[in-house]
Protein backbone atom coordinates (compact mmCIF):
# COMPACT_ATOMS: atom_id res chain seq x y z
CA UNK A 1 0.00 0.00 0.00
CA UNK A 2 1.46 3.31 -0.96
CA UNK A 3 0.35 6.92 -0.83
CA UNK A 4 -0.89 7.89 -4.26
CA UNK A 5 0.22 11.51 -4.38
CA UNK A 6 3.70 13.01 -4.38
CA UNK A 7 2.81 16.39 -2.95
CA UNK A 8 0.05 18.21 -1.14
CA UNK A 9 -0.69 20.21 -4.27
CA UNK A 10 -1.00 17.05 -6.32
CA UNK A 11 -3.41 15.65 -3.77
CA UNK A 12 -5.54 18.80 -3.95
CA UNK A 13 -5.60 18.72 -7.73
CA UNK A 14 -6.04 14.96 -8.20
CA UNK A 15 -5.19 15.38 -11.87
CA UNK A 16 -8.14 17.68 -12.50
CA UNK A 17 -10.68 15.81 -10.38
CA UNK A 18 -9.70 17.48 -7.13
CA UNK A 19 -12.49 20.10 -7.06
CA UNK A 20 -15.15 17.40 -7.46
CA UNK A 21 -13.69 15.00 -4.93
CA UNK A 22 -12.95 17.64 -2.29
CA UNK A 23 -16.34 19.30 -2.70
CA UNK A 24 -17.99 15.93 -2.08
CA UNK A 25 -15.79 15.36 0.99
CA UNK A 26 -16.31 18.82 2.45
CA UNK A 27 -20.09 18.85 2.03
CA UNK A 28 -20.38 15.31 3.40
CA UNK A 29 -18.35 16.15 6.49
CA UNK A 30 -20.38 19.31 7.10
CA UNK A 31 -23.72 17.54 6.81
CA UNK A 32 -22.57 14.58 8.90
CA UNK A 33 -21.13 16.92 11.51
CA UNK A 34 -24.47 18.69 11.70
CA UNK A 35 -26.20 15.34 12.29
CA UNK A 36 -24.10 14.86 15.42
CA UNK A 37 -24.03 18.43 16.73
CA UNK A 38 -27.72 19.20 16.24
CA UNK A 39 -29.10 16.46 18.56
CA UNK A 40 -26.59 17.46 21.23
CA UNK A 41 -27.86 21.06 21.03
CA UNK A 42 -31.45 19.83 21.26
CA UNK A 43 -30.53 17.62 24.21
CA UNK A 44 -29.01 20.51 26.15
CA UNK A 45 -31.81 22.92 25.25
CA UNK A 46 -34.43 20.42 26.41
CA UNK A 47 -32.70 19.86 29.75
CA UNK A 48 -32.44 23.62 30.27
CA UNK A 49 -36.08 24.32 29.46
CA UNK A 50 -37.26 21.51 31.74
CA UNK A 51 -35.12 22.82 34.63
CA UNK A 52 -36.39 26.37 34.05
CA UNK A 53 -39.98 25.18 34.13
CA UNK A 54 -39.41 23.19 37.33
CA UNK A 55 -37.86 26.20 39.06
CA UNK A 56 -40.78 28.36 37.97
CA UNK A 57 -43.27 25.89 39.40
CA UNK A 58 -41.26 25.68 42.60
CA UNK A 59 -41.32 29.47 43.02
CA UNK A 60 -45.03 29.58 42.37
CA UNK A 61 -45.63 26.90 44.96
CA UNK A 62 -43.38 28.73 47.45
CA UNK A 63 -45.27 32.02 46.90
CA UNK A 64 -48.59 30.23 47.41
CA UNK A 65 -47.45 28.86 50.76
CA UNK A 66 -46.40 32.29 52.01
CA UNK A 67 -49.83 33.75 51.37
CA UNK A 68 -51.43 31.09 53.52
Amino acid sequence: MKFQFDSFQQMMEMAGHGPYVWTAVLVSLLVMGWLLVRPLQLHRANLKSIARQLRREQRRRGAGEEKQ
Partner: protein
Protein backbone atom coordinates in the same frame (compact mmCIF):
# COMPACT_ATOMS: atom_id res chain seq x y z
CA UNK B 1 -34.32 0.95 38.22
CA UNK B 2 -37.53 -0.88 37.59
CA UNK B 3 -37.52 -4.48 38.70
CA UNK B 4 -37.77 -7.26 36.20
CA UNK B 5 -40.57 -9.18 37.76
CA UNK B 6 -43.55 -7.83 35.83
CA UNK B 7 -41.73 -6.53 32.76
CA UNK B 8 -41.17 -8.63 29.69
CA UNK B 9 -38.01 -7.90 27.73
CA UNK B 10 -40.17 -6.43 25.00
CA UNK B 11 -41.77 -3.82 27.16
CA UNK B 12 -38.49 -2.98 28.80
CA UNK B 13 -37.10 -2.40 25.32
CA UNK B 14 -39.96 -0.02 24.79
CA UNK B 15 -39.19 1.98 27.90
CA UNK B 16 -37.72 5.39 27.05
CA UNK B 17 -35.90 5.46 30.38
CA UNK B 18 -34.25 2.10 29.79
CA UNK B 19 -33.21 3.19 26.31
CA UNK B 20 -31.82 6.49 27.60
CA UNK B 21 -29.77 4.91 30.36
CA UNK B 22 -28.45 2.00 28.31
CA UNK B 23 -27.42 4.08 25.31
CA UNK B 24 -25.81 6.54 27.71
CA UNK B 25 -23.36 3.80 28.64
CA UNK B 26 -22.71 2.91 24.98
CA UNK B 27 -22.10 6.45 23.75
CA UNK B 28 -18.39 6.90 24.62
CA UNK B 29 -17.54 3.64 22.82
CA UNK B 30 -19.69 4.43 19.84
CA UNK B 31 -18.20 7.92 19.46
CA UNK B 32 -14.67 6.51 19.54
CA UNK B 33 -15.41 3.70 17.12
CA UNK B 34 -17.26 5.95 14.67
CA UNK B 35 -14.61 8.68 14.53
CA UNK B 36 -11.81 6.12 14.28
CA UNK B 37 -13.42 4.19 11.42
CA UNK B 38 -14.45 7.33 9.53
CA UNK B 39 -10.98 8.88 9.71
CA UNK B 40 -9.16 5.69 8.77
CA UNK B 41 -11.59 4.83 5.98
CA UNK B 42 -11.46 8.31 4.45
CA UNK B 43 -7.66 8.62 4.54
CA UNK B 44 -7.36 5.11 3.10
CA UNK B 45 -9.87 5.71 0.34
CA UNK B 46 -8.79 9.23 -0.59
CA UNK B 47 -5.03 8.80 -0.27
CA UNK B 48 -4.01 5.17 -0.51
CA UNK B 49 -6.50 3.36 -2.73
CA UNK B 50 -5.20 3.07 -6.31
CA UNK B 51 -6.95 5.27 -8.86
CA UNK B 52 -9.48 3.81 -11.25
CA UNK B 53 -8.20 2.89 -14.71
CA UNK B 54 -11.17 4.50 -16.50
CA UNK B 55 -12.38 7.21 -14.14
CA UNK B 56 -9.10 8.34 -12.58
CA UNK B 57 -9.37 10.06 -9.23
CA UNK B 58 -13.03 11.06 -9.48
CA UNK B 59 -13.91 7.48 -8.52
CA UNK B 60 -12.71 8.27 -4.97
CA UNK B 61 -16.12 9.86 -4.41
CA UNK B 62 -17.35 6.26 -4.19
CA UNK B 63 -15.99 6.12 -0.62
CA UNK B 64 -18.69 8.57 0.42
CA UNK B 65 -21.37 8.05 -2.21
CA UNK B 66 -21.92 4.31 -1.74
CA UNK B 67 -21.85 4.16 2.09
CA UNK B 68 -24.08 7.22 2.39
CA UNK B 69 -26.57 5.80 -0.12
CA UNK B 70 -26.58 2.43 1.68
CA UNK B 71 -27.58 4.06 4.92
CA UNK B 72 -30.10 6.36 3.27
CA UNK B 73 -31.91 3.20 2.14
CA UNK B 74 -31.36 1.05 5.24
CA UNK B 75 -32.49 3.99 7.37
CA UNK B 76 -35.77 4.09 5.53
CA UNK B 77 -36.50 0.47 6.40
CA UNK B 78 -35.65 1.19 10.00
CA UNK B 79 -37.95 4.21 10.05
CA UNK B 80 -40.84 2.30 8.46
CA UNK B 81 -40.42 -0.67 10.83
CA UNK B 82 -40.30 1.67 13.83
CA UNK B 83 -43.51 3.26 12.55
CA UNK B 84 -45.17 -0.14 12.15
CA UNK B 85 -44.20 -1.20 15.68
CA UNK B 86 -45.64 2.07 16.94
CA UNK B 87 -48.91 1.49 15.10
CA UNK B 88 -49.28 -2.13 16.18
CA UNK B 89 -48.06 -2.06 19.78
CA UNK B 90 -48.54 1.64 20.54
CA UNK B 91 -44.98 1.84 21.71
CA UNK B 92 -43.92 5.40 22.54
CA UNK B 93 -40.22 4.82 22.09
CA UNK B 94 -40.79 3.38 18.65
CA UNK B 95 -42.39 6.59 17.44
CA UNK B 96 -39.50 8.58 18.86
CA UNK B 97 -37.05 6.43 16.90
CA UNK B 98 -39.17 6.88 13.77
CA UNK B 99 -39.13 10.65 14.12
CA UNK B 100 -35.40 10.69 14.80
CA UNK B 101 -34.68 8.59 11.72
CA UNK B 102 -36.36 11.12 9.43
CA UNK B 103 -33.87 14.03 9.54
CA UNK B 104 -30.90 11.63 9.42
CA UNK B 105 -32.36 9.83 6.42
CA UNK B 106 -33.15 13.09 4.66
CA UNK B 107 -29.61 14.39 5.20
CA UNK B 108 -28.01 11.15 3.99
CA UNK B 109 -30.28 11.00 0.93
CA UNK B 110 -29.34 14.58 0.13
CA UNK B 111 -25.67 13.58 0.42
CA UNK B 112 -26.20 10.58 -1.84
CA UNK B 113 -27.68 12.89 -4.47
CA UNK B 114 -25.05 15.58 -3.95
CA UNK B 115 -22.01 13.30 -4.06
CA UNK B 116 -23.61 11.57 -7.05
CA UNK B 117 -23.97 14.90 -8.83
CA UNK B 118 -20.36 15.98 -8.35
CA UNK B 119 -19.26 12.52 -9.41
CA UNK B 120 -21.53 12.64 -12.45
CA UNK B 121 -19.99 15.83 -13.82
CA UNK B 122 -16.49 14.48 -14.58
CA UNK B 123 -17.81 10.99 -15.40
CA UNK B 124 -21.01 11.50 -17.41
CA UNK B 125 -20.50 15.16 -18.28
CA UNK B 126 -23.58 16.28 -16.36
CA UNK B 127 -24.57 16.93 -12.75
CA UNK B 128 -28.07 15.64 -13.12
CA UNK B 129 -30.13 13.34 -15.32
CA UNK B 130 -33.75 12.35 -14.79
CA UNK B 131 -33.04 8.66 -14.87
CA UNK B 132 -34.71 5.96 -12.79
CA UNK B 133 -32.13 5.63 -10.02
CA UNK B 134 -31.68 9.33 -9.43
CA UNK B 135 -35.37 10.18 -9.66
CA UNK B 136 -36.35 7.43 -7.24
CA UNK B 137 -33.71 8.69 -4.79
CA UNK B 138 -35.22 12.16 -5.08
CA UNK B 139 -38.60 10.64 -4.18
CA UNK B 140 -36.93 9.04 -1.17
CA UNK B 141 -35.79 12.48 -0.04
CA UNK B 142 -39.35 13.81 -0.31
CA UNK B 143 -40.68 10.80 1.65
CA UNK B 144 -38.26 11.51 4.49
CA UNK B 145 -39.22 15.18 4.48
CA UNK B 146 -42.91 14.22 4.38
CA UNK B 147 -42.58 11.98 7.44
CA UNK B 148 -40.82 14.81 9.26
CA UNK B 149 -43.37 17.42 8.20
CA UNK B 150 -46.32 15.30 9.32
CA UNK B 151 -44.87 15.27 12.83
CA UNK B 152 -45.52 18.99 13.05
CA UNK B 153 -48.77 19.08 11.09
CA UNK B 154 -51.13 18.04 13.88
CA UNK B 155 -51.99 19.47 17.26
CA UNK B 156 -51.85 16.08 18.92
CA UNK B 157 -48.61 14.13 18.93
CA UNK B 158 -50.68 10.96 18.61
CA UNK B 159 -52.17 11.94 15.23
CA UNK B 160 -48.79 13.10 13.95
CA UNK B 161 -47.23 9.77 14.92
CA UNK B 162 -49.88 7.76 13.13
CA UNK B 163 -49.81 9.88 9.99
CA UNK B 164 -46.00 9.74 9.81
CA UNK B 165 -45.97 5.99 10.34
CA UNK B 166 -48.54 5.39 7.61
CA UNK B 167 -46.66 7.56 5.12
CA UNK B 168 -43.42 5.77 6.02
CA UNK B 169 -45.05 2.39 5.43
CA UNK B 170 -46.65 3.36 2.14
CA UNK B 171 -43.33 4.81 0.99
CA UNK B 172 -41.52 1.48 1.36
CA UNK B 173 -42.72 0.52 -2.16
CA UNK B 174 -40.11 2.99 -3.38
CA UNK B 175 -37.19 1.07 -1.86
CA UNK B 176 -37.19 -2.02 -4.12
CA UNK B 177 -37.71 0.34 -7.06
CA UNK B 178 -34.52 2.17 -6.11
CA UNK B 179 -32.58 -1.07 -5.76
CA UNK B 180 -33.83 -2.53 -9.01
CA UNK B 181 -33.88 0.70 -11.04
CA UNK B 182 -30.42 0.06 -12.48
CA UNK B 183 -31.50 -3.36 -13.75
CA UNK B 184 -35.04 -2.60 -14.90
CA UNK B 185 -34.37 0.53 -16.91
CA UNK B 186 -31.59 1.66 -19.14
CA UNK B 187 -29.78 4.24 -17.04
CA UNK B 188 -26.52 6.11 -16.89
CA UNK B 189 -26.05 4.94 -13.33
CA UNK B 190 -23.72 1.98 -13.10
CA UNK B 191 -25.02 -1.29 -11.62
CA UNK B 192 -24.42 -2.08 -7.97
CA UNK B 193 -20.77 -2.26 -6.99
CA UNK B 194 -21.36 -4.69 -4.19
CA UNK B 195 -23.80 -7.56 -4.10
CA UNK B 196 -24.25 -9.99 -1.25
CA UNK B 197 -24.56 -12.86 -3.68
CA UNK B 198 -21.37 -12.39 -5.69
CA UNK B 199 -17.79 -11.26 -5.36
CA UNK B 200 -17.26 -7.49 -5.55
CA UNK B 201 -16.64 -6.20 -9.05
CA UNK B 202 -13.73 -4.06 -7.94
CA UNK B 203 -10.11 -4.68 -7.04
CA UNK B 204 -9.46 -5.74 -3.48
CA UNK B 205 -7.26 -2.68 -2.78
CA UNK B 206 -10.19 -0.44 -3.70
CA UNK B 207 -12.75 -2.65 -2.00
CA UNK B 208 -11.23 -2.82 1.49
CA UNK B 209 -11.46 0.91 2.22
CA UNK B 210 -14.99 0.91 0.81
CA UNK B 211 -16.00 -1.86 3.17
CA UNK B 212 -14.47 0.08 6.04
CA UNK B 213 -16.39 3.23 5.08
CA UNK B 214 -19.65 1.25 4.92
CA UNK B 215 -19.07 -0.11 8.43
CA UNK B 216 -18.11 3.41 9.55
CA UNK B 217 -21.39 4.78 8.17
CA UNK B 218 -23.38 2.10 10.00
CA UNK B 219 -21.70 3.17 13.24
CA UNK B 220 -22.25 6.82 12.39
CA UNK B 221 -25.92 6.12 11.70
CA UNK B 222 -26.37 4.31 15.01
CA UNK B 223 -24.66 7.18 16.82
CA UNK B 224 -26.75 9.90 15.18
CA UNK B 225 -29.97 7.94 15.70
CA UNK B 226 -29.22 7.39 19.38
CA UNK B 227 -28.35 11.08 19.89
CA UNK B 228 -31.52 12.32 18.17
CA UNK B 229 -33.67 9.78 20.02
CA UNK B 230 -32.23 10.76 23.41
CA UNK B 231 -33.05 14.42 22.76
CA UNK B 232 -36.55 13.40 21.67
CA UNK B 233 -37.04 11.31 24.81
CA UNK B 234 -36.32 14.34 27.00
CA UNK B 235 -38.74 16.40 24.95
CA UNK B 236 -41.64 13.96 25.12
CA UNK B 237 -41.06 12.61 28.63
CA UNK B 238 -40.51 15.99 30.26
CA UNK B 239 -43.20 15.26 32.84
CA UNK B 240 -41.56 12.02 33.97
CA UNK B 241 -39.88 12.13 37.39
CA UNK B 242 -36.57 10.74 36.17
CA UNK B 243 -36.33 13.37 33.43
CA UNK B 244 -37.06 16.16 35.92
CA UNK B 245 -34.34 14.83 38.19
CA UNK B 246 -31.91 14.70 35.27
CA UNK B 247 -32.73 18.28 34.29
CA UNK B 248 -32.24 19.58 37.83
CA UNK B 249 -28.93 17.77 38.11
CA UNK B 250 -27.71 19.24 34.83
CA UNK B 251 -28.89 22.64 36.05
CA UNK B 252 -26.85 22.31 39.25
CA UNK B 253 -23.73 21.30 37.31
CA UNK B 254 -24.20 24.30 35.01
CA UNK B 255 -24.54 26.60 38.04
CA UNK B 256 -21.30 25.26 39.57
CA UNK B 257 -19.46 25.71 36.34
CA UNK B 258 -20.74 29.28 36.07
CA UNK B 259 -19.47 30.09 39.60
CA UNK B 260 -16.00 28.78 38.81
Amino acid sequence: MASNRDWTWFYRLGSPRWFYETTGRWLPWLWTLTLLLLTTGLVWGLGYAPQDAKQGNSFRIIYLHVPVSFLALAGYYLMAIAGAIGLIWKMKLSYMVMKSAAPIGAALTFLALFTGAVWGKPTWGTYWVWDARITSMLILLFLYLGVLALQYAFHSQESGNKASAILALVGTVNIPIIYKSVDWWYTLHQPATIKLTSAPSMHIDMFQPLLMMIIALYCFYALALILFTRAEILQRERKAAWVCELALQADKVAAWEAEE
